[in-house]
């Protein structure tokens, strides 16, 4: 098993957001986590990546045999965890190439591998930028600075392609994208999908899942996974809306 989340509770600024999440992910699988706004989807993604604003109060996360919660954000990345940000940060003065070169070499160093030389690295960038139809001129520009929403999301998937993670978490990568950009992003993800990695797609809308077909769909509501199923669950949600889940939940409570 690649990832196992057990009874995860987390809070931010004293408010509990995650209230006991259980999730198992194997390599080769794509899991979709859906849910209404405020259900805790992005919190889950942030906790997995190691954002320090969140405090884990209970539970465990095991990743590839390691206790993920004991690893720093950079070590998680070096172990193969990748988060595609919902809101990618603009970093003026740091070029995309510089970021990726530093990242690739720090990861290789961690794994005891030789650094890539300039030629090999440029080849890698060239090859991967095609996956998301990213123009070469983006490489020399500052990270996300002045990028459109779609460009930012494509850049996230481009970084994912270059870093080649074992576990990728896509946090609302579809939100705000027009259909063309959505298709490009989804195509990129599909090409990266393999039997050796796993992808968690966090999304509010079913639309993305027409392009990235999940093996499992989980519905997160009020900090808990309240329903799990196959890809047809996403369609059902699309048809009935989240009220169905909310009502269902209250029925259970009654």
């Amino acid at each position: 098993m690649l990832l196992e989340i057990k009874n995860l509770h987390a809070k931010i600024n004293g408010t509990e957001i995650l209230k006991g999440i259980d999730l198992k992910v194997n390599t080769g699988e794509v899991h979709a986590i859906m849910g209404p706004n405020g259900s805790g989807k992005s919190t889950l993604a942030s906790v997995l990546a190691g954002r320090e604003d969140y405090e884990v109060t209970e539970g465990e996360i095991w990743y590839n045999g390691k206790n993920l919660l004991e690893l720093s954000p950079e070590d998680r990345a070096r172990e193969g965890v990748f988060l595609a940000f919902q809101y990618p940060v603009e970093i003026p003065g740091v070029s995309n190439t510089n970021l990726l070169k530093t990242a690739v070499n720090e990861i290789r160093k961690y794994r005891g591998e030789e650094e890539l030389d300039a030629m090999e690295f440029l080849e890698l960038l060239k090859e991967k930028s095609k996956l998301v139809e990213l123009d070469q001129k983006f490489l020399s520009r500052s990270v996300n600075e002045g990028f459109s929403g779609g460009e930012k999301k494509r850049n996230e998937i481009f970084q994912m392609a270059v870093l080649n993670p074992k576990l990728a978490i896509l946090d609302e990568t579809d939100s705000g994208l027009d259909i063309d950009a959505l298709r490009i992003v989804a195509n990129g993800v599909n090409k990266l999908r393999s039997k050796d990695n796993a992808i968690i797609v966090v999304t509010h809308y079913q639309r993305l899942l027409n392009y990235i077909i999940p093996d499992f769909v989980h519905v997160l509501y009020q900090g808990k996974i309240v329903k799990s199923g196959g890809k047809e669950l996403a369609l059902e949600l699309e048809e009935k809306g989240y009220d169905w889940i909310k009502n269902g939940k209250s029925e259970v409570a009654v």
Partner: protein
């Protein structure tokens, strides 16, 4: 010492200084020194009650008895090599404890008509340009430290570029200070004259190879004739226990272009007063700076850009990175006089505080007396962007490397305006060494 004693010290020691001038006492130039000394004796030692010294207390400075005669020390040529830049073709002037060292300098490849020599030599020869320009831009009357420098003027760099001459490679001027056991004061006096249509690049470099206590009180005057081009880089890497007070006064004639960068990392206390004045239309001026201080270092930049004539452009950008208990002051004044229509002035000061104990006082000032101008100014003081840092870390980049990357990025818009590649590389290296060891 008290402030009064500090002044008395320099007045009383003047005789000792005179004795060491080797009979120069009777020269015409010596009268300038004596006049300056009398002005010095009339001026008050600045305190934090003075508006221009509000955040800058010189009490740590006045505590010391600085020997007015710096010790003569031997410097091996290899040591000078430590302060040179890789891959940079340059002409070289070396001063050790204030004194010009011809043996360590390298000036043989300069164009014939260009004069690059020591100020003491220019004084000895009564160089006409010296008499025309000396003390004309950095006046003694309102500045205690300038008056002190003038009174004790003995040596420094003297550069005279005649009309239409171009010096392509930078002239690297290094002031190496080494205090050994006794603290001393060194007072370099520089005069750079670039006549009409000439071109010159200067690296004014203050450095030390140990952590001695000394006081470096320098004055630099720069004159740009019509359409002259001067690129000036000052690198302040004094000993971490040194006091550094420096004034630079720039006079720009019509259509001249002055570009300057102050890179400051050294000294426990440093104060920089830079003024550039447009005396003709169509001038361009750039005053950029980058200071990186830590421990208990104190840095102060007081700048003034005087738009006295129309159609001039100025660009000023100072950036600071403060760690530990470091304290910084930026006071930038842009004066747009009534005649100076169509002025374009940009001024910005940004500082990053890497610790809760670091303090920055920033005061941009615009004084505009013309109505058809474009001026902007701003100041920011903040911390490193934690969100950006997390983003980098989430890509596998470690804490130190991520910090260094963001510092590089922060400093980059000042570094990229430096025209000399070897210096840009040197600065990038300093940042990497400081933040990502």
């Amino acid at each position: 010492m008290t402030e009064t004693e500090f002044k008395r010290w320099f007045i009383n020691n003047f005789q000792n200084f005179e004795k060491n001038l080797n009979g120069e006492k009777t020269s015409f130039f010596h009268q300038i020194r004596k006049d300056a000394l009398s002005k010095f004796s009339l001026l008050n030692v600045p305190t934090t009650k003075d508006e221009e010294w509000k955040y800058t207390s010189i009490s740590p400075l006045v505590k010391h008895n600085f020997n007015v005669l710096p010790p003569k020390v031997e410097i091996a040529p290899e040591l000078v090599g430590k302060f040179l830049f890789d891959q940079l073709e340059h002409h070289l002037m070396v001063f050790v404890n204030g004194e010009f060292r011809k043996d360590l300098s390298k000036l043989d490849e300069l164009p014939q008509t260009v004069e690059v020599t020591s100020l003491s030599n220019a004084i000895k020869n009564n160089h006409p340009a010296l008499l025309n320009h000396f003390g004309k831009y950095a006046e003694d009357s309102n500045n205690l430290f300038t008056a002190l420098n003038s009174a004790y003027t003995k040596d420094g760099a003297f550069i005279f570029i005649p009309k239409g001459k171009v010096v392509e490679d930078p002239i690297h001027i290094i002031f190496i200070n080494r205090a050994q056991d006794e603290s001393f004061v060194t007072q370099p006096r520089n005069l750079f004259i670039a006549e009409d249509n000439s071109q010159l690049t200067i690296i004014e470099h203050y450095a030390s190879d140990d952590d001695g206590i000394y006081f470096s009180n320098s004055v630099t005057e720069i004159y740009l004739g019509e359409n002259a081009f001067v690129d000036h880089i000052k690198l302040q890497e004094e000993s971490k226990k040194a006091f550094h007070i420096a004034r630079m006064e720039v006079d720009q004639e019509r259509s001249s272009n002055f570009s300057s960068h102050l890179i400051s990392t050294g000294a426990v206390f440093s104060r920089n007063e830079f003024t550039t004045r447009f005396n003709g239309e169509g001038g361009e001026s750039m005053l950029n700076g980058l200071f990186m201080i830590d421990g208990e270092q104190f840095f102060d930049a007081h700048t003034m850009i005087d738009h006295a004539k129309p159609n001039c452009n100025s660009h000023e950008h100072y950036k600071g990175i403060l760690e530990d208990k470091a304290r910084g002051v930026f006071n930038g004044k842009v004066m747009v006089r009534p005649d100076a229509q169509k002025t374009n002035a940009f001024q910005e000061n940004n500082t990053i505080l890497l610790s809760d104990d670091a303090v920055m006082n920033s005061k941009p000032q615009l004084e505009i007396f013309a109505d058809d101008v474009k001026c902007s100014h701003g100041a920011t003081v903040g911390k490193l962007n934690e969100e950006a840092k997390f983003y980098l870390k989430s890509r596998g980049i470690g804490e130190e490397a991520a910090t260094a990357m963001l510092i590089h990025a922060f400093a980059s818009d000042v570094i990229t305006t430096i025209k000399i590649e070897a210096l840009r590389d040197y600065l990038e290296k300093i940042i990497t060494q400081k933040f990502n060891q």
